[in-house]
Symmetry: C3
Subunit: 156 residues, 3 copies
Amino acid sequence: MRSLRKLGCEPGHDEMKMRQAQHQLSIATSGKGLVEITSQVKRWVAGQGIATGFLTLYCRHTSASLLIQENADPAVQTDLANFFEEIAPEDSKRYVHKTEGLDDMPAHIRAALSQTQLAIPVASGRMVLGTWQGIYLFEHRRAPRRREVVLHLLGE
Amino acid sequence: MRSLRKLGCEPGHDEMKMRQAQHQLSIATSGKGLVEITSQVKRWVAGQGIATGFLTLYCRHTSASLLIQENADPAVQTDLANFFEEIAPEDSKRYVHKTEGLDDMPAHIRAALSQTQLAIPVASGRMVLGTWQGIYLFEHRRAPRRREVVLHLLGE
Amino acid sequence: MRSLRKLGCEPGHDEMKMRQAQHQLSIATSGKGLVEITSQVKRWVAGQGIATGFLTLYCRHTSASLLIQENADPAVQTDLANFFEEIAPEDSKRYVHKTEGLDDMPAHIRAALSQTQLAIPVASGRMVLGTWQGIYLFEHRRAPRRREVVLHLLGE
């Protein structure tokens, strides 16, 4: 055993080896707006027994996206939603792509301006989010939908 | 052998250990617009023999960027390109930085508004792209160019 | 030893195993604008003895963000700052969220339009930055602040 320990092959070493976990969140949205998913993500990360590593969140859609934003004053979300509404308005004269509804092309633009994916380091078993940071799914379509976000955690 | 197996050092364990692969794509653009690179990326990922992990794509330029977007209706790309054209127009009065051509500063802004890098989880040997998601290189300059995108895959 | 070597458990193998390093940068800003952090990040990466891997940078704030941009002509930074100033102006009529100052809501919007996190592959012990690429912290508030950026490096 002694010589193996030196070679880094004793059980203790093996327990600390790098590993991965994946999970898919299914998030119900109620039309345009931000849905906070911080607590669901925190809970899943906490359950994986990984102390040091990092988490990737991936949104499997092109008319919804991900955003890290302030989670204190709800007015921030109102203002953000208004901003994205104004910058890419629903307007039949602006877009060629209209077959999926007038809200579809603005949704693709808003997704392009925000994030499809986020990577967050994990230390002491927790994401290193700042005090005021929350993780949001940003729904860009009018109608309620189910959105899939893949979580991938890697660490030891 | 028996004791080594318990210690996680038998050949089977070794075959499953975490590993990395890197590759650089060289992409020819034909001036402003989106170039789909999904199939090239898929092919490279499939050839690495990594079942679970994640892929990072990194664009080595400041006047081209990366985007996940709808790959069904080509009109989406037209509308996206038009949007980025309007939001940061070529206009000599707007910008101080003009030495590299009137299309250069708008290109930097459009790159800042989209992504230099993307991370996509891999499960069962494939990127977890949604049904309608494609990976695009977004060229922001007028003239055709060669663009370098680094792929980094990590997994087991 | 011979048999262990075949099993991938000899010292040489152990030295090459995947590992992680984390660090937190504390960056002083002097109000709105871009602060280049490329050299600090390079120095830290170089000191970790990791040849192949990738680096994640994570900004722990919602009124500052991260950006890869041209580091040659300083006028690019002026034009970028002006663009973000115009696209989300300080204007008391536009926003509901005003309690933290008129510059706060525009700061959140500018952060949403740029990046909270960046991932950069590392090859031969260096980030694969393009020739003209620099890493910037983008301060969106008027007053000088201290900003925390977490660095997470994983590789072998």
